[in-house]
């Protein structure tokens, strides 16, 4: 992926991973620049989620390494990593009745000493992030009772509260990475657009680095600046969205014949699937 002269924040260096004897990723190189907004595409089973978990430090690569600012993820202590890297899973089901505010505050735990309770600053940050995701009116609701779209946004808010050192936002000088697994899978059309807009704004205003994997090519096309396309655990294409998202790549990745239009009504390419091979 072209670096465009920006520092490489998060990189996977020739990373391989296998579940038992079944290889999922093979020698994958991915370089995610500071402030990047990157989509990982590929078929079911192509290794998208595994790559995302490796980038999050949730899995240890069988070969190769994942580094954040040239430091191996394995070398970070967990709270320190959590203050810079947050993950929004595909779904978060919680069997206990936490309120939305309690859940958002859990993002503050990496900032607290072992027996410290959340202070006014933490509450301020949590409320600010709920407001940023349009869920501040839900703060006393029980998370379990929310709709899928509301849950997704509350979890994003909870992830964002991990970053801020102070209520005015990141001040560490270090940028932060938000990883999202299929962020739109449970969202209706309107929330997909809202989420897309939220992530763009985060990326632009806070310089938050965003990496997401998705099945929705048009969502990726509208949001991501760069794409990484996986097939059977290998990178088959990587680079700026408009050069990667071509009928040839889609055919190679999904075995699907598709048209890619550049319409004047939207600034990004639009994918129209025609038939499977």
């Amino acid at each position: 992926m072209p670096s465009r002269g920006r520092p490489k924040l998060l990189r996977a260096n020739r990373v391989s991973y296998s579940y038992g004897s079944h290889p999922v990723l093979q020698e994958v190189d991915v370089q995610i620049p500071t402030g990047g907004l990157i989509g990982i595409l590929g078929q079911n089973g192509s290794g998208k989620t595994t790559l995302l978990k490796l980038l999050a430090g949730l899995l240890k690569p069988s070969e190769g390494s994942v580094t954040l600012d040239d430091m191996d993820l394995a070398g970070f202590n967990r709270p320190k990593l959590a203050r810079r890297l947050a993950v929004v899973p595909q779904e978060t089901e919680i069997p206990f009745d936490y309120t939305v505010l309690e859940l958002a505050l859990m993002g503050r735990y990496p900032h607290l000493h072992p027996f410290e309770l959340e202070g006014p600053t933490d509450f301020k940050i949590a409320r600010q992030m709920l407001a940023a995701t349009g869920t501040d009116h839900l703060e006393q609701r029980v998370y379990r009772t929310l709709s899928g779209g509301e849950k997704q946004r509350v979890v994003i808010a909870s992830a964002l509260t991990q970053f801020a050192e102070t209520p005015t936002g990141p001040n560490t000088g270090l940028t932060q990475v938000l990883l999202l697994d299929e962020p739109t899978s449970s969202l209706d059309l309107c929330f997909q657009l809202t989420t897309s807009k939220l992530l763009t704004e985060l990326n632009l205003s806070q310089n938050t680095t965003i990496v997401l994997c998705t099945h929705d090519l048009n969502f990726a096309a509208g949001l991501c600046r760069d794409l990484v396309v996986l097939r059977e655990g290998e990178v088959i294409a990587a680079g700026p969205t408009d050069t990667v998202l071509t009928p040839e790549t889609i055919r190679a990745a999904y075995g699907v014949i598709a048209d890619v239009h550049c319409r004047s009504t939207s600034s990004h390419p639009t994918v129209v699937p025609i038939s499977s091979q």
């Binding site: 978990k53 999050a56 430090g57 949730l58 967990r78 709270p79 320190k80 990593l81 959590a82 203050r83 890297l85 947050a86 993950v87 899973p89 978060t92 089901e93 919680i94 069997p95 206990f96 009745d97 936490y98 309120t99 505010l101 309690e102 859940l103 859990m106 993002g107 735990y109 990496p110 607290l112 072992p114 309770l117 959340e118 202070g119 006014p120 933490d122 509450f123 301020k124 409320r127 600010q128 407001a131 940023a132 995701t133 349009g134 703060e139 006393q140 946004r153 992830a159 991990q162 209520p167 005015t168 936002g169 309107c190 809202t194 807009k197 939220l198 704004e201 985060l202 205003s205 806070q206």
Partner: protein, 354 residues
């Protein structure tokens, strides 16, 4: 319809109605105080109730020497050990329930879900049935055997859950626990079938749970494992909040998941094992108390864990008073009382929502 602008400058006003960290602390502290006093009061009042009425004034009357003070003797020698045992057992079982429910991410888990009740019963039964030759001292051997049985069951479950992959599979924990419970129960039934009727009855009595410990000695034995367990529990609550989000979400919020799971498992094992060796497998305490506390104060484990401990202690002490007095002079097994109260409550919980 939804504002999505990232607010870089903080919103200035902050709602005053919602608990802040200090409020959380105060709210938790107040309930903890109330329930703590409640538990202590239960321990002091419980020994006053019984076939021989005694008065608290008499018990603590400094003018009567202890050897002549019958009330004080009944209070301290005959009845207080039993009340204290109830408090330890109740607190340990309720706390273990909270910890295991978070560990298994299952609000219906109990301290006995992982095979503890059947494991400890098997241990107790083996000593009751075969161990009479042990210096004729089976009174002390039974608690030890039940403690060992409980820990053995947990060790098997733990080994199975950590065998297959990196980390701990809570699904395997749950399924292995349920399976072990049935398996051990079958062994118990088999041996019971062949055993002398008196021994079979003794085992049956043991599994009903009883706090009739006789003197302070069993309490002292149970203190070391309980102390270790509660030192562990004191570190856990915040990490338990995160564990209930799922292992991966917990890891990305800055905790070492496997370590936390191990500590939770170890603490719950020691506490449950000690409780069972003191009072037998007394059911339902570990589930109704955490749920009651959650209804009172919400799901945050920093509030649920300590408050459940105190309420659990008070609950078992009070149930035991019922066990001693309801059909006096006959004594009911305390496990029957907690189950008669707990069973319907549990069923109500199941159908209450969703």
């Amino acid at each position: 319809m939804t504002p999505t602008r990232i607010v870089i400058n903080p919103p200035t006003e902050i709602g005053g109605t919602v608990p802040t960290g200090d409020n959380l602390h105060r709210r938790g502290l107040r309930l903890r105080l109330i329930l703590g006093v409640f538990a202590i009061a239960a321990c002091v009042i419980a020994p006053l109730i019984g076939p021989t009425a005694i008065s608290l004034g008499e018990v603590f009357d400094p003018t009567i020497p202890f050897v002549q003070n019958v009330d004080a003797q009944i209070f301290f020698i005959a009845r207080l050990p039993r009340a204290l045992a109830g408090a330890l057992v109740g607190g340990a079982l309720a706390a273990s329930g909270v910890v295991l429910q978070a560990l298994l991410r299952n609000p219906l888990a109990t301290p006995f879900t992982l095979g503890v009740s059947a494991g400890s019963s098997l241990g107790a039964m083996l000593v009751i049935t075969f161990g009479v030759s042990l210096d004729n001292n089976s009174v002390e051997a039974v608690p030890i055997a039940s403690f060992v049985g409980a820990l053995a069951a947990l060790a098997i479950v733990y080994a199975l859950a950590t065998m297959r992959r990196q980390g701990m599979s809570t699904l395997v924990l749950l399924l292995a626990g349920v399976t072990l419970n049935s398996l051990f129960s079958a062994v118990i039934l088999f041996v019971q079938f062949l055993a002398e009727p008196t021994q079979a009855l003794q085992t049956l009595r043991w599994t009903m749970g009883s706090l009739d410990i006789g003197n302070y000695q069993p309490l002292l034995w149970s203190l070391p494992p309980l102390a270790v367990a509660f030192v562990i529990f004191a570190q856990l609550p915040r990490a338990l909040n995160l564990l209930t989000l799922g292992a991966e979400s917990a890891a990305t919020r800055g905790i070492n998941v496997l370590n936390t799971q191990r500590m939770a498992f170890l603490g719950a094992s020691l506490a449950t094992g000690a409780a069972v060796s003191l009072g037998g497998p007394i059911g339902f305490v570990g589930i109704i108390i955490p749920h009651l506390v959650r209804l009172l104060i919400g799901a945050d484990h920093r509030l649920v864990l300590p408050n459940s401990t105190y309420l659990g202690a008070a609950f078992v002490v009070i149930c035991d008073v019922g066990a001693r007095t309801l059909l006096s002079p006959m004594e009911l097994p305390v496990g029957v009382i907690t189950a008669l109260l707990g069973g319907p409550f549990f069923l109500w919980l199941l159908v209450r929502q969703k």
